[in-house]
Amino acid sequence: MALDHSWDRAAVVSIVASLKHQRGALMPILRRVQDELGWVPPESVPLIAHELNLSRAEVHGVVSFYHDFRHEPPGRNIVRICRAESCQAMGALALAEHARKRCGADFGGTSVDGAFTLEAVYCLGNCACSPAVVINGELLGRMTPERFDGAISNLSRR
């Protein structure tokens, strides 16, 4: 099942209109677009650039610089796994490999059925409870492969 690349132009227009007057507006605008749409559609770049009186290259440069901004729509569930040192010391790499197989997605990618997007993160500030993951926005600590399976078992593959 291919991901749906259509996007809500009206939502982006409204976000830009509400935030464009503050100083350094581009980051808050992109942040809000990402948070509301789940990604920053490449087709929204000219619109944002025009409204902020920036070049398309400048806006594209910012979008592509920051890891948070997705260039593709995410799957229905988003799994983020910390791969930084503290979590590595507690088995994060084995957990990451387990998650890759379990979700059927590579890091930075989405499973073919669109169920899971898998992302690597580098520190969630949960280092005292390593290894840490975020599943659909919820931070979970002291994760094990078994608990991971439990946490995603209720999530739909459809």
Binding site: R23, G24, A25, L26, M27, P28, L30, R31, Q34, E58, G61, V62, F65, Y66, H67, D68, F69, A84, E85, S86, C87, Q88, A89, M90, V121, Y122, C123, L124, G125, N126, C127, A128, C129, S130, A132, G137, L139, L140, G141, R142
Partner: protein
């Protein structure tokens, strides 16, 4: 709230939530409801003893009593045992203040964290909050800066630059618009002190920034918060609203006649934005590419204006310094490292958490006495001090005192105070490779040695591991690290060689080298 109700505390800090604190709080509310018990459920910050989280506290006649780690399954038996009277139970930890790992700390910056309701301005003031601001309002800007200078407080973000000097530079600028920017882009693995303050006592950061504003003549402040901290965003937002409503922020700060406004801006997952000039670029809505210095941000920072940039812990240390005097703060610590530092113990450790201590304790005392050794029970192999740009130390170096100069003298850095422990299963050649990989991933691209050298570094380490012309490639790696150190503008490219070269020096066998050969390599 009725005076009869019993206060029950369940942390709302994100690590506690990641261990099920929300479910525990719900279960306690349900159980109390079904028994007709009148409780006041307070969602506090964490005390930082994460091996005991979710830790529930109850205000009993003899003081606050702790239980932990509590799961939903324990709640009924806790009530049966007499939780609300502070009775004994297999999870009982006694009086919270008497728990040795807490009692042995010197909590100045974290004085209120875990004790109060973080978003209650009333609690904050009742526990000594806004004393610093009241003192500061009666002082001139130069007097406030003098007090900070006398405290010998150094930047807790990692660079350890004296805060007083930074503030004086901004104070001395003649500009109608100045800024205070808080660096809350806590990206180092193994660190979470900024998060704990923002989630556990956000008003102390707000007060510290307000005092900084009064000191240097800045009317606006920004908190650059990493996007990975949604709970910190929530508590900070609530606290800023409460402080604004009460007149502690706004056009007339606490009747001083001076304005100070505060805004939160979110990052977007770029480690480099923890570097102060990259952060300023990001705040201006640009790519987080670092700037040349000079000009210093204190002279030409945000939007080209004089800007004080400090880390969360630095700014949160200010209220106590102004309230109790710089001298009192300076009495803690050793050598040129004065005051206290919130040390964060993470990785493979039995008792992970945050311990605010005066400088001078040894790494071994921290790891063994506070941390209890490895979580796995296997022998300790390596300790990374100071985040991803810090050195890996072997067990034989753990008698180093925790002090900026001592750690730097041993070829490492104390950084933001994170200590990550690895047991004997760790492969330090892989960790060195990871350091290069991380640098490649996070490089802003401005300096060639960092942008390209990090990718070459991964390849060279791969060849060493695969035993392809190992000797030559070790030489090449050393040369590459020298180039990165000398040819990078900021700490990312400049310090990535620290974890790499320390791994090679102290753990040569992981690179397939004989111990003697590795040890001879400086």
């Amino acid at each position: 709230m009725s005076g009869q109700s019993i206060a029950v505390y369940v942390p709302r800090d994100s690590s506690s939530l990641s261990l099920g604190a929300e479910e525990v709080a719900d279960a306690i509310a349900r159980e109390a409801g079904s028994r007709g018990a009148d409780i006041e459920l307070i969602r506090n910050g964490s005390r930082g003893m994460y091996w005991l989280e979710p830790m529930v506290e109850v205000t009993a006649a003899r003081g606050r009593v702790a239980y932990g780690p509590v799961t939903v399954a324990d709640v009924q038996s806790l009530f049966n045992a007499g939780l609300l009277e502070g009775a004994d139970h297999k999870l009982a930890l006694g009086l919270t203040d008497e728990i040795p790992y807490l009692k042995r700390q010197s909590r100045l910056t974290f004085a209120r964290v875990g004790i109060i309701d973080p978003v209650s301005l009333h609690d904050y003031i009742a526990h000594g909050g806004y004393r610093g601001l009241a003192t500061a309002i009666a002082m001139s800007g130069a007097e406030i800066v003098q007090e900070v200078t006398a405290s010998n407080l150094r930047g807790r973000g990692g660079a350890a630059f004296p805060a007083g000097i930074k503030w004086k530079t901004t104070l001395d600028q003649n500009s109608p618009q100045k800024y205070v920017v808080c660096n809350a882009d806590e990206g180092d693995s193994g660190t979470f002190s900024d998060r704990m303050i923002m989630e556990g006592d956000p008003f102390v950061l707000i007060e510290g920034m307000t005092i900084a504003g009064l000191a240097v003549g800045a009317s606006e402040g920004y908190i650059y918060l990493r996007s990975e901290y949604p709970h910190a965003l929530r508590t900070l937002t609530q606290a800023i609203e409460a402080a604004t409503r009460a007149g502690y922020l706004g056009a007339d700060v606490a009747g001083s006649g001076k304005p100070f406004r505060l805004e939160i801006r979110l990052g977007a997952g770029a480690y480099i934005c923890g570097e102060e000039t990259a952060m300023l670029e990001s705040l201006e809505g640009k790519r987080g590419v670092i700037r040349f210095k000079p000009p210093l941000p204190a002279i030409a920072g945000l939007f080209g204006q004089p800007t004080v940039v400090n880390n969360v812990i630095t700014l949160s240390s200010i209220p106590a310094i102004i309230a109790d005097g710089g001298k009192a703060y300076n009495e803690h610590g050793v050598g040129r490292s004065r005051g206290t530092i919130p040390l964060q113990l993470a990785g493979n450790i039995k008792r992970p958490g945050l311990f605010e201590l005066p400088f001078g304790l040894t790494l071994r005392a921290l790891i063994e006495d506070f941390g209890g050794g490895t979580a796995s029970g296997r022998p300790l192999r390596a300790v990374q001090v100071g985040g991803p740009l810090g050195a890996y130390f072997p067990d034989s170096m753990l008698d180093l005192p925790i002090d900026y100069e001592a750690i730097a003298g041993a070829g490492g850095l104390l950084g933001h105070g994170g200590v990550v422990v690895f047991d004997e299963t760790a492969d330090l050649a892989q960790m060195a490779r990871y350091a290069m990989e991380f640098c490649a991933l996070e490089s802003c691209g401005k300096c060639t040695p960092c942008r390209i050298g990090s990718t070459r570094g991964v390849e060279v380490i791969d060849r060493i591991i695969a035993n392809r012309e190992r000797g030559d490639n070790v030489e090449l790696l050393r040369d590459l690290c020298e180039t990165m150190t000398a040819g990078s503008l900021c700490a990312l490219g400049g310090l990535t060689p620290l974890p790499v070269m320390s791994a090679l020096k102290y753990f040569p066998e992981d690179f397939g080298l004989s111990t003697a050969k590795g040890a001879s390599m400086e």
